[in-house]
Symmetry: C2
Subunit: 212 residues, 2 copies
């Protein structure tokens, strides 16, 4: 049975993605700190594992072929949490995945993580954490997809994308609904070669935007 571990499955993107995976008949292991946050999802393809990402969470990787790291809370938490979750938990997730022979690791990264110093100054600590987590994954030997969404919005998903960064910063956005759709595609259609892709709302279908 092919299972996907979703780390941070009760987060804003994580929960949408978890629901979408289940709607598409995918078996999911949802790693969350508080399982009550998923109490409204009832599905026999869902296994919930409750664990703190600051503790050992290697046991959650058992029998999972795919891993998606969707934990973290954007650029607005304290920098200590940024280091411990966005950076360190992500690195440890890659290490656990490597030890469990995971076939494909999808990282929810961020626009600007490629070159943190170019981002807005108040975002630097967050972007550095994401950059270093991505770098660790890239050096891990794992087969990976790094997805770098633009600024996230809560608008209703459009189902249309681009991987070309819009020139106007205000247009470099994507709905959380659509990030979840992109993750579904990345997990169910892993690219032949590991890849890093920035994604935004645009006018194309997802299979034209993510590498195959």
């Amino acid at each position: 049975m092919k299972q996907t571990l979703i780390i941070g499955a009760s987060g804003q993107i994580g929960k949408k993605f978890t629901q979408l995976m289940l709607d598409n008949d995918q078996h999911v292991v949802a790693l969350v700190r508080d399982k009550s946050k998923l109490s409204d999802i009832h599905n026999d393809k869902l296994t919930i594992v409750e664990e703190d990402l600051n503790k050992d969470f290697g046991h959650a990787f058992k029998d999972c072929e795919n891993v998606v790291f969707a934990a973290g809370s954007g650029g607005h938490t304290g920098a200590d949490k940024t280091i411990l979750i966005d950076l360190w938990a992500a690195c440890r997730a890659a290490n656990y995945a490597k030890n469990h022979d995971v076939k494909h690791f999808t990282m929810v990264s961020s626009i600007g993580a490629g070159d943190p110093s170019e981002g807005p100054e108040n975002m630097h600590p967050y972007l550095v954490a994401k950059h270093m987590a991505d770098e660790h994954l890239m050096n891990s030997g794992l087969h990976y997809s790094i997805i770098r969404p633009g600024s996230l919005t809560n608008d209703t998903g459009k189902g249309k994308f681009t991987n070309q960064r819009p020139e106007q910063k205000e247009q470099a956005t994507i709905t959380r609904d659509d990030v979840a759709k992109a993750l579904l595609f990345a997990v169910t259609n892993p690219p032949k070669k590991s890849a890093i892709t920035e994604i935004f709302n645009g006018s194309k279908n997802i299979d034209e935007v993510l590498p195959s």
Copy 2:
């Protein structure tokens, strides 16, 4: 002329090390944010470069054969500064060094940086930052020495060392004077193979403790 760039040359270890290098007839480029902090050092082998480590500091690497990263302020600053200086400035220093064909890079790291999760909880963010900076250097292709001192003290230097971590945590200490001496040795006697060494005060001479 063989020059050594000291990044963070006005810090608690950095300034002792800078003075020691000059006392040993070494040419030093001292990178500091505020040059007045070195105004009491007068030596024609000293060149001071004033720059903020959050800005581009690549110009300081010109004509430097050795680099020592001694910036940072331990585990007691805010976590945002930990990310920006202890981690990001260190990574960028390694990148600049690589671009300038630096022959040997010495990183002042920390006991516990090898396995951050094993350290005291309040130190985790700092130790993760040091761990990831060390990892970046190790993957850089540079020839390096990573020095991981025990808990730092301001006692007078003893000139005696060990690289065996004492069992009692209270004994896993080293004076800042002696870290400066160890750095002098590392820079003037770079090891054949890149190396990572924990150092503490002990009973041996430095040439018995650092690899040759």
